[in-house]
Symmetry: C2
Subunit: 267 residues, 2 copies
DNA sequence: CGTTAGTTTGACGCGATTCAACCTTCGTGG
DNA sequence: CCACGAAGGTTGAATCGCGTCAAACTAACG
C-alpha cells in the first residue's frame, strides 16, 4: 500500500520544528540542526514496541508521525497507560543515565520515529542553547501533562476525566497543526482510553455515550468532534495553561537574529 | 524553641550532595559548587507557600530540610496532591521558561529551602557537566515518581495504593539517610495522604487500620514502621526501580578524578 | 480547661466494576 | 460474492469498593 505524498513537494517541516518554532522564531540554522537531529528514521507498525520494560535504554526517540502509548502492567495484570506520545514528542530523554526502561512504549499505528543517540543531544546542548532549552521544555511539557492526568485520576469523576482527556489530545494535536478546529482523529480504542483513565471499558463507553447525549461530544468511528468547545472545556474543568508552549523568555538569544521562521496554528 | 545542633560540628553535607554523591563520586570542587548553589537560604513554617498557582515563577528551589507538597485544586474544590518534596528535591526547575506556576507548593512543617536564580542553573550547566546531569536526573526522578503515582491512582486498589505510597516515602527518605531501617517519620496527616491518593479521609483511615491489622504496617502518631518489609513490598506491588539513583554511565567524567567523596545509606 | 485539628467508627448510597450477552465493522479466504 | 472470525463497540443487571454523612474520640496548645 504505497501512497504518493502530494505535500512532499513543499518543504517538509518536522512536527518538532513546528512545536518549538510556534511561539518563538528559530533561525534557519537552528531549524536545520533540529531536522538533522531527526535524520535517522525508523518506521514501526501498530503494536510494535519502541521500548520494553526492563531493557537498557540506548537511544532516545522523537516521534515524527503516528502515535504511541507508554504504559505499565501491574502485578494484578492491569494496564495503566501513562501517556500518549504524539508527533513532535520525545521519548526516553533520560537515556543520559545508564538506566533501564520502567515502562513499555508501543506504536498505536504506522509510526515514524527518529533515533537519537545521547551524544547528539549533548552536542545540541553545547552548540544551540535555545534548542537545548527547547528539549528541556519538552520534558516540562510532558511533566505537566502527567501532572494533569494525576489530577484527573485522583480528583475528577469519569465524565470530566474522559472529556478532559479528549480535550487534551485535541489541544496537543492542534498545537502541531493536525487537528480540525472542532475535532480530531482519535488514535485510540475505547479500551485504550479506559486504561489511560483508570476506568473499565464498559464504564468508559457509557461515559462517552453520556457525553454525546449531553451534546458535549461526538465520537463516531474514532473521529471526535466537539459541538460546543466552550461548554466542553467548562464541563471538563479544562485549563489550557498546562499545555503552554515553548517560549523561553530569558536573554538566551544573545544576538542571533538571523533569518527567521515562525510557525503557528490555532491554539 | 531553639535546639543546639550537635552535629553541626562535623561538616554539614546538604541532602542534594548526599543524593548526587550516593552512587558516583563527586570531586571536592563539585561538592563545593553544589553547596554554593544552595547558599541563599530561606526558612518557611508550616502552611507557608513556596509557590502559588498562577504566579510568575522567578526562581527555583532546592529543598534542604523539612517537606512540602505540590497540589492543585479542581473546579469542584477537591485537592489533588501531586507530589511530596523531600530534602534534596528540586522545585520549579522549569523556571527556564517564562512561565506561571500551575500548582501550589506549600511547606508541611518548618522547612528550609535554597533559592536558585535561573542564571545560576545555567552556569552550573556550563561549568559542571556532571552536575548538570545530576540536575537533569532530579527531573527524571520526579517524573518517575509521578508516573508511579499515575499507576497507583489508575490501577491499584486503595490498600495497595496507600501501602505503595508509604513505601515510596520510606525509600526516598532512606536514600537521603533520614529513615530508619524499618520505618520513618511521616510528615503528613491522613487528610494529606488521602488527597495524594485520591481517596476520602475516612477510607484512607480504614485502609491504614486494615493494613495494620494485616501486620503490614504500624502507624502511630505519624511514626511509620514496617514489621515485614518484604511482605509489604510484595503486597504493594512495589518495584524500587522507579526510584533508581543518580548514576550517569557515559564518558562525561573525562579526567576529572581529583579528591573524591562518596555517600551512601541502606537502599 | 476549653478549643481546634486530627483520628476513628458506623450506616448508607452512589459510582464504577464485573459479568454476560449481543451487535457492528472489517479483513480474510473459500 | 458471500461466509466466517476477530476485534471493537454497546447495553443491561448484579455487585462491590469507596464516598458521604454523622458523631464521638483523642491529642496538642494556648
Amino acid at each position: 500500500m504505497v501512497k504518493l505524498d502530494e505535500t512532499a513537494a513543499t518543504v517538509a517541516v518536522s512536527p518538532l520544528v513546528r512545536r518549538l518554532g510556534s511561539q518563538i522564531t528559530l533561525s534557519a540554522e537552528e531549524c536545520a540542526a533540529l531536522e538533522q537531529l531527526q535524520a535517522r528514521r525508523a518506521v514501526l507498525h501498530e503494536g510494535q514496541f519502541l521500548v520494553r520494560d526492563g531493557e537498557l535504554l540506548t537511544a532516545a526517540f522523537i516521534l515524527c508521525a503516528g502515535a504511541a502509548i507508554r504504559y505499565r502492567i501491574t502485578m494484578a495484570g492491569r494496564r495503566q497507560i501513562l501517556g500518549i506520545s504524539l508527533p513532535g514528542d520525545a521519548i526516553g530523554l533520560q537515556v543520559n543515565f545508564q538506566s533501564t526502561a520502567i515502562a513499555d512504549v508501543a506504536a498505536l499505528c504506522e509510526t515514524e520515529v527518529a533515533l537519537i543517540e545521547p551524544e547528539r543531544i549533548l552536542d545540541l546542548y553545547r552548540h544551540h542553547p535555545v534548542l537545548a532549552a527547547g528539549i528541556d521544555w519538552l520534558t516540562v511539557y510532558n511533566f505537566n501533562i502527567l501532572s494533569e492526568h494525576n489530577v484527573s485520576l485522583g480528583a475528577r469523576p469519569a465524565r470530566e476525566r474522559v472529556l478532559h482527556f479528549l480535550l487534551e489530545l485535541w489541544s496537543r494535536l492542534a498545537q502541531i497543526g493536525v487537528a480540525r478546529p472542532d475535532g480530531f482523529d482519535l488514535p485510540l480504542t475505547q479500551r485504550q482510553i479506559a486504561d489511560a483513565m483508570g476506568l473499565s471499558v464498559v464504564h468508559t463507553n457509557k461515559t462517552l455515550k453520556r457525553l454525546a447525549g449531553e451534546g458535549l461530544l461526538e465520537l463516531c468511528r474514532r473521529v471526535v468532534r466537539f459541538p460546543d468547545l466552550q461548554a466542553a472545556m467548562a464541563a471538563a474543568d479544562f485549563d489550557p495553561r498546562f499545555l503552554q508552549q515553548f517560549r523561553p523568555a530569558r536573554n538566551w538569544r544573545s544576538g542571533a537574529g538571523g533569518q527567521v521562521r515562525r510557525f503557528n496554528e490555532y491554539v
